[in-house]
């Protein structure tokens, strides 16, 4: 609907019909978060942790139930064209919620670190000061992280569903802002954490500005921010395409920043390293899912016309190739496990971009399959990282991990499962995911991308396997890190993640089937 046409009816305002049912997953998430803030305001300090964790988990579960209830309904565009509730949306929302549930189990963990969670006792204390030690001694906690992360979950649910650029922007901010904050709240290595938060915030603000500028230009081009209207204008152009391509380029920068694709990946290693490790896992999995969902929607719904595809596809393919090369080569040189996993996340964004650029329903299904299996594995990997501890927090330097497999066989074996999956060893879920994406890319006629991806995978296998070798075939250090014994919640999360990684590698048909069914339905 053009904004000009709409405004002629200014005189007679008819209250719009708001489809609360279709919007319920995000409304529940935002409502839970707001309730959490009220808990922060009125519950006594000692009880906050328990209430917040319970509330967040119940909220995620309720939201997931809402997604399940919507699963059978017909695809439709609701909230006056702002939100598309279709198979792809619901699949991604369900995935984000499952991933968030597992991530919250790890985030809420207190047993690994002397009955403290992973967050600073008081974010405003000067690192290393007496005030900081005092607040820690009193056992204060920044329980605000749970409602803040719920805000982020709400934004992530809205981001891949947004059907116009304005809603998409608001969702982008709602998902990013809490993450900027939480990144700066790590309990240990405060300075590194604060630096990460500042970098993430500044670069994120820049990328948001690019996104907004791009959205403004597309509005100038089509007279609407609605993706369907933009698609109509692209198909039947009424004006020159300068605004269109400039707008798409700027919009693309904003989105590629969020998915962590090169050359917009600079923030990833620093932020992944500095953020509290459980939050890193959550970001690496859930943000990636939401951002790829939004990217798919912009490209397939807004710019899915052949004439436009021919313009953006070569650019995106180049981005995919650069991303895979940067991720693969730089991961090789890392000495820190969190940084290595960050570069591996960049590499995986490259694989996913191959799927996105192929634009067939088959490729979209492959992307939909890849996102959850990758997300579960990366959360599991970061959860294992939280268990290996030194006096100053987690021991993330790879040299400290020597011989871990002999001293702590179970965590090391779990990490080995995730790393072997990343490396694309057969009978793991990510192997199936990669296979599906490469197959779709070959069918769509881009073998060059697949060749680069296979080479990058071979390179990647080297650094994943190096960690496995260090863990199992090196002698343990005399003063090696200690292995924390996690609570039953983290054990469950790890078991679920490892089981899913193996089971979906051996018997992927159920999820593949679901992804195939969901990918075909894209409300326009």
């Amino acid at each position: 609907m053009s904004i000009l046409a709409a405004s002629s009816t200014t005189a007679t305002f008819v209250a719009p019909h708001v489809e609360f049912g279709k919007l319920s997953p995000m409304l529940i998430a935002f409502g839970t978060a707001t309730l959490g803030i009220l808990v922060e305001a009125f519950a006594p300090r000692k009880q906050r942790y328990g209430i917040q964790v319970g509330l967040a988990l119940v909220g995620i579960a309720a939201s997931f139930a809402a997604v399940l209830a919507l699963a059978g309904t017909t695809a439709s565009v609701v909230a006056q064209g702002s939100v598309a509730v279709d198979g792809t949306t619901l699949f991604l929302q369900g995935t984000i919620l499952v991933i968030s549930f597992v991530a919250f189990l790890v985030i809420a963990e207190r047993k690994t670190d002397q009955n403290q969670d992973a967050f600073a006792a008081q974010g405003a204390s000067v690192p290393g000061s007496a005030a900081e030690r005092e607040t820690t001694r009193r056992g204060w906690q920044t329980t605000e992280v749970y409602p803040l992360l719920m805000f982020s979950v709400g934004g992530m649910l809205l981001f891949p569903a947004a059907n116009d650029l304005l809603t998409m922007f608001v969702a982008l901010e709602a998902l990013s802002l809490p993450l900027y904050l939480v990144c700066g709240l790590a309990r240990h290595r405060r300075l590194l954490s604060q630096e990460a938060a500042l970098k993430y915030f500044l670069l994120g603000a820049f990328s948001s500005a690019f996104f907004l500028y791009g959205a403004a230009m597309l509005y100038g081009y089509a007279g609407s921010v609605n993706l369907a209207v933009i698609a109509q204008h692209v198909a039947h152009p009424t004006a020159g395409s300068t605004l269109l391509y400039t707008g798409v380029a700027l919009l693309g920068m904003g989105l590629l920043f969020k998915v962590g694709a090169a050359p917009f990946h600079m923030w990833t290693p620093d932020v992944y390293q500095g953020a509290p490790t459980p939050v890193t896992g959550f970001m690496a999995a859930a943000t990636k899912i939401a951002a790829f969902g939004a990217l798919v929607r912009v490209l397939d719904v807004g710019l899915g016309v052949n004439s436009a595809e021919n313009v953006w596809r070569p650019v995106m393919q180049a981005v995919a190739i650069i991303t895979m090369i940067v991720g693969g080569v730089l991961a090789l040189t890392q000495r820190d496990i969190k940084r290595m996993l960050a570069y591996s996340a960049i590499l995986n964004a490259g694989y996913l971009l191959i799927g996105v650029t192929s634009t067939t329903a088959q490729a979209r299904a492959a992307v939909l399959f890849y996102l959850p299996v990758y997300g579960v594995a990366i959360i599991g990997a970061f959860a294992v990282v939280t268990l290996v501890r030194d006096a100053g927090g987690e021991a993330t330097d790879l040299s400290r991990w020597a011989g871990l497999g002999r001293r702590a066989p179970i965590p090391a074996a779990l990490l080995a499962v995730f790393l072997l999956a990343f490396a694309g060893i057969p009978f793991t879920s990510i192997f199936i995911g990669k296979f599906a994406i490469f197959q779709a890319a070959l069918a769509a006629g881009s073998p060059d991308l697949v060749i680069v991806a296979v080479l990058a995978s071979a390179l990647a296998a080297f650094f994943y396997l190096r960690v496995v070798v260090v863990m199992f075939f090196s002698d343990p250090l005399p003063q090696g890190p200690t292995i924390a014994h996690p609570s039953i919640a983290v054990k469950t999360a790890l078991a679920v993640a490892a089981f899913a990684t193996v089971a979906l590698g051996v018997a992927p048909s159920l999820l593949l089937h679901l992804a195939n069914n969901s990918a075909g339905i894209l409300a326009k």
Partner: protein, 181 residues
Amino acid sequence: MSHGYLSPTGLEIAFVLIGLVTLGSGLLVVTVKNLVHAALWLLVCMGSIAVEYLLLTAELLAWIQVLIYAGAIIVLFLFGLMLTRAPIGPTEELNVRHRWPALIVGLGAAGTLVTVIVQAYQHTWFDPRGAVPLGSGEALGTQLFKYWVLPFEVLSVLLLAALVGAIVLSRRGRDTEEAEA
């Protein structure tokens, strides 16, 4: 009614003149050596943009520009100068070492924008005072509640998150109730 660039109306002349004020104050923001002066020049820049909006009959946008940007954002800038150890007087630190690359990037960006806008609209003539009173508060209010209810409500949630974040990052000490006890 014929449109042309050769016989501008008074309004168009005013638009160009205020545009020059905007450009000049913008240049001063990045060239003066005194941080506080730069912030005050930014105020002039924001204010003149508000007048440009007004000349294009985007009334509400003009007032938002005054309220949020000229009012709140500049205040936040000055607070920022106060809270960090930013020098109040003239300082050599503001001498940009990469002056020439910055100039090239700036001119490049401006050139691109001008090209894009000219390319897109060279054959289009907008009459800002046309039949559609789009810029008024009433029209935008109706639009807002008709089409943008969901982003509007999500925005309130975003504001909530921002404020909570500000407290989390900056507030020290006990809660109200604990201080009383």
